[in-house]
Symmetry: D2
Subunit: 151 residues, 4 copies
Amino acid sequence: MTNQKTFISVPIIIHFGDTDPYGVVYFASYFRYCHHGIEAFFKTLGLPPHRYFRNTDKGFGLPVVDASCKFTRPVWYGEELELRVLINSLKEKSITFGFQFYRAGTSEQVAEGEATIVAIGRDWRARSLPNDLREAVEQFLRSGDCPRRAS
Amino acid sequence: MTNQKTFISVPIIIHFGDTDPYGVVYFASYFRYCHHGIEAFFKTLGLPPHRYFRNTDKGFGLPVVDASCKFTRPVWYGEELELRVLINSLKEKSITFGFQFYRAGTSEQVAEGEATIVAIGRDWRARSLPNDLREAVEQFLRSGDCPRRAS
Amino acid sequence: MTNQKTFISVPIIIHFGDTDPYGVVYFASYFRYCHHGIEAFFKTLGLPPHRYFRNTDKGFGLPVVDASCKFTRPVWYGEELELRVLINSLKEKSITFGFQFYRAGTSEQVAEGEATIVAIGRDWRARSLPNDLREAVEQFLRSGDCPRRAS
Amino acid sequence: MTNQKTFISVPIIIHFGDTDPYGVVYFASYFRYCHHGIEAFFKTLGLPPHRYFRNTDKGFGLPVVDASCKFTRPVWYGEELELRVLINSLKEKSITFGFQFYRAGTSEQVAEGEATIVAIGRDWRARSLPNDLREAVEQFLRSGDCPRRAS
């Protein structure tokens, strides 16, 4: 159940502290941007991130269990990026997000990655995704060829 | 009740992400280093930071309520710093830390600042400092002209 | 030459990594936000930050030489902030920015600070501010009681 | 040409800003720690990182071109980690580092990852690794079953 054409578009501003000492965005920053992308994805679907990454009342959390990224082009301070957040995979207990980084306003991809979040219960064991999250992601995937800007 | 001669010496390694895009440590990083300094200070006094910055059982916290720093010399990636953490002021409800940054192994000061933590209760109102913290700081101040390395 | 009524309004999203381990935005993050505010201020005035913080061709830089902030209210992950960037002082060789942090959509101020940037030449000595920067700030100050959103 | 038994051991202190709002080290922080690990690896081999990540005189750089990590156990603020840095692969133009994170003082692995750096020239095209770097890594690999603490 994947749909590569549907994505959330998130503008990324490069700040002091995001680059290496030579002015090039360094690899660890992209993973922070990926997390900003997940947060923007949740918000765009109407799901407040702070009630989903950890929900004490309902007894679940959504930790990232793996992440990877390839960095193909250098990006300098002063540039801006467009991050496209996709759903690479939706499973019973996990969601794998895809991340595509473009130089803003161009079709030049500079990095690409993915990250998987797993639903866990109070005991830190994997459990089914919360229903409202699953439904929101399914609806997003059904929305088809329809890129959206992060809200 | 201050003693400028007593300090905890904390080595600071400059990492990717600590500098501006031109390789110079940028001002916000120094405030992170100051917090590393407070953590090292607590550890050196035998007080685990994670039980003092917020202690749910005993119902207190120690938020920073103000901070300031002057930056007098540029420091580049590849250099190392020595941070000296002092007690500028110990009051009933608050501690003001002093921070002196030196190029490691030299007497050249590159930045200087301070930050105040206030003890608060469960209601986020100011209260007296926890007794064991006060006593540890008082003992530190009595230790006189005796610089210590962070443990 | 100051005008407290004119400011640039910058929305601040609180991300993972901006809070302490208890979910409260920790003090060093505010200084990063202040720098985001200076960047947004430059952009709103039509000055690309990466050509002003350091301009190798024209031989000048604009390092922060001091910064301070008071933190009056706790802010949690899940909240959003409005940062208002003001000019507290414009001098021959320096600009002092003022920063006011509000809970977004409210008049509740949670932190307030300032930071001074000084123009330096290739020799790292203070020099006059670049003319176009000075003129842009003067025009901003003349614009009077007219808050602007960051562009 | 790999040797899983040889590694550099790097102590990792968990700071404010490294955790999510619930006090658990969040995934992006591990990638920053990985970079600290590469820096410590270089230093331990007698190679100053700031002359290797980018060397303007000799016209080479060593950007990270891909990185990945799996996160198997939660780690809280207040804990410490041991990061073991290994060489997973040494090629003509690239080095792949392995990273194993343990709860300090235990054999409990909490995360595992790798990252590849590629040597590039002034034109940002891949080139052979600098000779002294290659030789230092080869010597490290020959040193066999001999863990070392980061210097």
